[in-house]
Symmetry: C3
Subunit: 654 residues, 3 copies
């Protein structure tokens, strides 16, 4: 199978989405000049070009794209060629209204924006296949082509009639019989028994509370239908170019797609990453997405989109302060990216994204934004040797979309305790402890890790539970947060409110009640404060260690339990406490941080032989690094430490 | 007519909703064992069993229910048998989409939740009647049957075409002629004159502000249509079992049903009560609902549903701390309940309510929740003698749904001054003063009361006004809050902004303007602070007493007026002030609290001969009770006082 | 052309909307008595009378209106006669559902409120024309008629199919070819190219972000369609009464209508003005609306609606404290009003606006509200000589609806920096500096002004830019706030992010990035604090003056730039700082306040020969006024100053 290496060919890719149909041809030549100036070696073409390529049904206008492909090739710039299927031309919706998605209330999503397609529409799929095939046939042999980019940020949902029909097909495949579906969905409750397949519908508006397994399956179905759309296009281009890798860009930590399943179908895993430049935890969030993406890719990955400056979709959109674009670009490389790209090359003057920055901003060549892009490009060239290298981690954080979906149901113990916030808190604690982490699926082979961390996995299959038990049996250390192992694959609560095997593992005799906390509320524990959640637990007699709650209704009951190498946290400790706890557990398991004595806000990651040290603070800092190293960025040698300016980075070769 | 006594037969009912269709038959036998262990003597079957009983149109599967009825009877547990019409099977909506309700925007409420039926649908009504008749025919003679439970928490609204047609029929019946409707609705304003009945529609989405009388009548109509559904089913079961009482469970203080009208049609008045365990005013709220329900029932009533632990529909769902379930259960008995039941017996493992607690929680028999249920059941057995006894009150609080509906109109002086909050504030003040209160409709005979309290009755009929005047003339003391007597039955503002007879009664010469207060704002009065509202009033010369506003635009004008025994409060005093004021007025009228010198958070109620003393605080407390009493719960004798632990209760017989 | 003078005939109009169809005929005579008592000389009839005039299709019932017209004339009260087309009778929607508007989600707006008409419906337009023609034919010659009032507060939007068809016609007229439309809308982005006119639709619900030029044009179209409705009715009445002026009342600072375009089509410009009596900036807001309306009218204007007391549509509706109704009425006259009217004469007892106050409130004749109305009417009679006189201003604030519409697009740098707030902040600063200002369109002749102020004009046409440049070249002083000159007429961002000519004018070499501020955030500048916004600017070498940012990422960069007489402010200074800055700039340009040494909260305006001095404070104050003046309100002579009570006003003739 083709691989990201087939696109990178020994250098880090640098570039971005290029939408030249917005500009007159003279601008294209100006663009080429600036791209070369900035060291751009890759552009993504065609993401939103359907109506340009097929201005009316069946028409084909490829001349402009021929010109651009040639122009790129002639200037040594590779092309990631996109299928344009994320935004069908207006004529598709006009002629075939059934291609437009409907929300749970029946509202239609029209053209005039983007992503106005139903994943379930046969007509949409046929038209998407035809334009994809036309592109593959015409450009499959073009020397500029380095990668295929399918669609863009798949994320649509449809509750319409054609989706309902496909949902039934999907459910028949999953359950075989209607009885099995009725059992899985628990339709005995609230009189929801289906007597024929025809009465099964998407979770459209109800008077009060959806059936949660119906909603869970609809999320599964939606992810699968989008994936069907994606692989259908992939299969077409693969027929023409079996040697060219294929990707489809994810939105970061996006709930809508089963990321593990999707990644298996891609040659290259790519992601779009837009932390808020004003978020004090922007670096932590970026690192999480990067670690997750690398884990999905099982190696180097592609940063398909980031912003050179502000985005346009927040309430207040902040530019990147001097140095931040470079810092976050290098952070991606440190955490496994072999490609650093932007949306988009030249900032639009028109349309819905004209206030989303580009590598060339409205201020043009002389703008600070472009100057920083240029500097970043130059730095990336200095790091060519990192291309293709890997990152080793002794710790894995478990994540699973199905658990996330099930956990997000409408009526649950607390709407404050959703997975995303909890996941971020745990990853942040490990990041701040200087510990490098992978992500893994709960059924993955965990043999390579010393410590496995489960921030929250509300739903766990039996296979996953056995996997965890086996990991601990084999000598691994397991740390779990609350709301883990509550439900089985069908969102059926396990007897006792938590799987009996897991309770046994952690030393929980009885889980009496969950005590979720209100916003602003915390709970005193011995030595730290807990947030978000607490639990009324009766510990087993043979528990190894407990830390109790102090005061309140849970006074004296265990906030933290350990039975041998299995730890259970029934609350979310405040950041410093969680960091200290995880550092201690890691140390006990023989896992040490990349560098000792890291100052706050400094990140250290080892990729291949290279040590990346990144200062996310606004103050200069000296980082102790034992021994002598060569800094690839400055070309200097540093001994026993490196001085980093605000947002400074060193990439050290021993 | 049959009566709750026919179900209780000398003991307090204890039990809950039982939905055994969720469980395999072996669990049923386990359930019986635990029910007997907990002292359960009543279960409610069939509330959501329609699709189990009639899995396809016209089919009947009653065998499982036969088994359960027999099982219950064989174990001495009575059955409250429900008509399953609150949640039609999916096939009804699939085959008859017109049975699905529409909201004001035209959105359809689908199956997949519950209550997806239009009260106006003839097809729904026919199917509901058929399944009801089948149940009545089959189980009318079963010895386990102790009560009929119609539907569940009637609450749906429909703006669709069939509802529109019935609305017109309802309006014809109310008004006779279209002229009368036009007059009542004030269609002369904003050009809303109806020239034919066909143009009259439900209050569907408008550009700006609905006609408020149209909305008021639509609320009346909706309550009446739901009641038609209810009485149609009642009449069917009554034909088979004239000796078995019938109920339909209310939601507490629910705006959607005219509670006085509904109660008249029921043999047993029952309510579902779910105070938030974290609400510091949960006991006060519970007492209000209990007093209202008792008043609707004109005697003992049934607590149809409460939660043994957390519910699932709040943002954060708190369990009940140790002792609270028992405390609130006994509070219900103290205030007239002859039945203490839960939703539901065994906590679901699947479906939308699996995080709503059960008497047997996910933790099972050994969970604290079940243990507390068991203790409560034991205590209720000790109180058998209270069954059927009554509570005497010298004070009545007036409440009327029509006034509530009219007061909730979109455009009004203040959206902050809605009836529910005001009602709760007044009832709380009386509760905290230790004064036992009934509720009454403003047209009820008030002759048995010494004091009548009107927290807010925006709309008052002429008959109601005459009733109030007669009450005062006959020597009664009347206390009224603001926004009372503003509108007539058609929501027509009475000349002067408040009925002239009432102004005369209270000594108000001119009501110049309402001065509603912003959130966080209060107004200084002589001796207390007012909240929510104030008024620019010119007092009559012959007013008996006034308390003036101090400072601000209303400086010196009366905040409180009294003319003889008629009091008017133009603001809402802060809780302590309102309590002190009402205590003084009651004392002047010769009404004393149940016990003198009650500590804060302690409630005392006399039911029949028994004195209930309840400690809602978390600290132990000693309550002075003059004389010697026997405590039914402990079997001990107490003299001149009783010591209550946290959440402790004593039930004292002289 | 007829003019407001033709209605006023030497006196200020005083009165209000009169909706007598709500009352029995005996009340009409009582109304006449009270009107005469209050000095009412003008009433507006018929605004919502359609269903009374045409109770069924084609019927005509004009007798009641004949009576009222005669009654008014017989009592010396002029009639502003309204076309009743803002609220069609229910039969129109029932018989012709296509006359009902749809929102972007497809929801229909029904009858039962008001303004349930689609501006695009041919059927609506035909019926509106017929009833208008019937009124004009019948009352065109009636001696009571002094003005025509078309519809009411035009404000509806329609996304339905008939609107879509008209939108296409409008766009064809605007663009000529589909190519031109595609270019203007930038449909090359996101694959939005239209291949036929038929695929162009209103901006209905989309998955993600509308095309902003589509939205902008839809706003233009909506304003134009409403104006077509308006002028169609105007043309009908004008045919019958070419000598009678025509108006249609605006909502204040309403975004939905292009106020400059509309004003050109009206003989009289009128506005409805409802500041919140509790708003501490209510007077400032009122002054802004009054200045804008006067500028639209190019002379005297009409206050068509204000409230004598509370309105009913806020969450909490406050009455007017003693004196405020008079104060704000006189403020309107001070700023150019020749008519001071209310909605409505007698407060409704029924319907959606019964809690909106009237000149005669529910409290009736003896209510304070009517007494204050009466006092105001008496004062207006004392000011007859002001009628028709004009106000001179040396400063113009530029405002343009197209810039507002474009600036409000969904995805933009900051949703906090919308035009309305910025406009209010700048006008307030000038008001508090005692400087009288006009408003002007950016393409108006600015020759008569010394200072032109641009709070924010995101979109500027080339003509507008040339106009501004010419103004400065001719010696004028220009002050501009941020986000000005960003986009061209099609919402195409100008190269550099701001028009190059304007950058040159202000001395901006490069506009690197916008740095919008979060809520609660401010930025330190040399000598003041900025709010809402900041910018990363590189100044040109030849800039005359700069004030730098201090601290943060922009430290040392210019917050304020000046090049000769052109000032640019890249942040919004706090109120005191903006006031001081504008006072200084005005003084440098030779513009002085109306009075020197004005105490805070005191307003001074010169209208014709008269000097209005208004105390908006609650404390008495002495205002220095050099020389001797006659106070028209008290009839006294004042020397070198005037003493004003709380809310006091003096109108001084030298």
């Amino acid at each position: 199978m083709p691989h990201l290496n087939d696109s990178t060919r020994g250098r880090l890719l640098f570039g971005g989405d290029y939408n030249p149909e917005q500009w007159p041809e003279e601008t294209w030549h100006e663009d080429i000049r600036l791209m070369k100036d900035a060291g751009v070696n890759s552009v993504t073409l065609g993401v939103f070009s359907w109506s340009k390529l097929e201005p009316e049904p069946g028409a084909r206008e490829f001349g402009w794209l021929d010109t651009l492909m040639d122009l790129m090739h002639g200037n040594g710039i590779g092309v990631v060629l996109a299928t344009p299927t994320a935004s069908p031309p207006p004529w598709l919706g006009r002629l075939h209204p059934q291609t437009l998605p409907r929300d749970a209330d029946g509202h239609v999503e029209h053209w005039g924006g983007r992503q106005h397609f139903s994943h379930s529409s046969a007509v949409y799929r046929r038209h998407a296949a035809e334009i994809t095939e036309a592109l593959a046939a015409r450009y499959g042999g073009h020397p500029a082509l380095t990668m295929w980019h399918i669609n863009n940020e798949y994320c649509t949902v449809d509750h319409g009639d054609e989706a309902a029909a496909r949902f039934r097909v999907w459910l028949r495949r999953r359950y075989g019989t209607l009885d099995a579906l009725n059992t899985a969905w628990g339709t005995a409750f609230w009189s929801q028994h289906h007597d024929t397949w025809d009465s099964v519908i998407p979770p459209r508006r109800v008077h009060y509370l959806h059936n949660p397994t119906q909603v869970l399956d609809f999320r599964r179905f939606t992810s699968d239908m989008l994936l069907e759309c994606c692989t259908a296009e992939r299969d077409i281009v693969r027929r023409y170019t079996p040697h060219i890798p294929v990707t489809s860009n994810f939105m970061p930590l996006w709930i809508g797609q089963d990321g593990w399943r999707w990644a298996e179908e891609e040659d290259v895993v790519s992601v779009d990453l837009y932390p808020d430049p004003r978020d004090p935890l922007g670096a932590q969030y970026g690192a999480l997405v990067q670690d997750l993406t690398r884990s999905q890719a099982r190696g180097p990955w592609m940063l398909m989109e980031q912003a050179a400056g502000p985005v346009n979709w927040r309430g207040v959109n902040h530019p990147k302060p001097r140095g931040l674009n470079r810092l976050w670009s290098l952070q991606a490389v440190a955490r496994g990216a072999d490609a650093v790209c932007y949306f988009q090359w030249r900032q639009s003057r028109q349309g819905a994204e004209k206030f989303h920055s580009g590598m060339v901003s409205h201020a043009g060549e002389q703008g600070r934004t472009f100057q920083e892009v240029k500097r970043t490009g130059a730095d990336l060239r200095r790091l060519a040797e990192v291309t293709g290298t890997r990152i080793a981690a002794d710790i894995a954080i478990l994540h699973d979309w199905h658990a996330w979906w099930a956990g997000e149901q409408q009526a649950r113990p607390s709407r404050r305790a959703g997975l995303e916030g909890v996941l971020r808190a745990w990853h942040r604690a490990l990041w701040e402890a200087g510990l490098t982490t992978d992500f893994a699926h709960p059924e993955h082979d965990l043999g390579g890790y010393r410590v496995v961390v489960v921030p929250q996995l509300y739903l766990l299959t039996d296979a996953a539970i056995e996997n965890l038990l086996g990991f601990v049996r084999a000598g691994g250390t397991l740390v779990s947060g609350f709301l883990t192992g509550v439900a089985d694959e069908d969102d059926r609560v396990r007897p006792g409110g938590m799987d009996a095997r897991l309770r046994e593992l952690f030393g929980i005799r009885v889980l009496h009640e969950w005590w979720p906390l209100e916003a602003g509320e915390s709970t005193e524990c011995d030595g730290f404060r807990g947030t978000l959640w607490s639990e009324e637990i009766e510990a087993a007699d043979d528990v190894t260690e407990t830390v109790p709650y102090r005061g309140g209704e849970l006074d004296g009951l265990p906030a933290l339990l350990r039975r041998d190498r299995a730890w259970y946290l029934s609350t979310l400790p405040e950041p410093d406490a969680l960091r200290a706890l995880l550092a201690r557990i890691a140390a006990d398991a023989g896992v040490r941080p990349v560098l000792d004595g890291l100052p706050p806000a400094v990140e250290a990651v080892r990729r291949g032989e290279l040590l990346f040290v990144l200062n996310h603070g606004r103050e200069p800092v000296t980082v102790p690094v034992p021994g002598r190293h060569h800094d690839l960025l400055t070309g200097t040698t540093v001994t026993d430490g490196v001085r980093l300016d605000r947002y400074g980075v060193a990439v050290l070769r021993p």
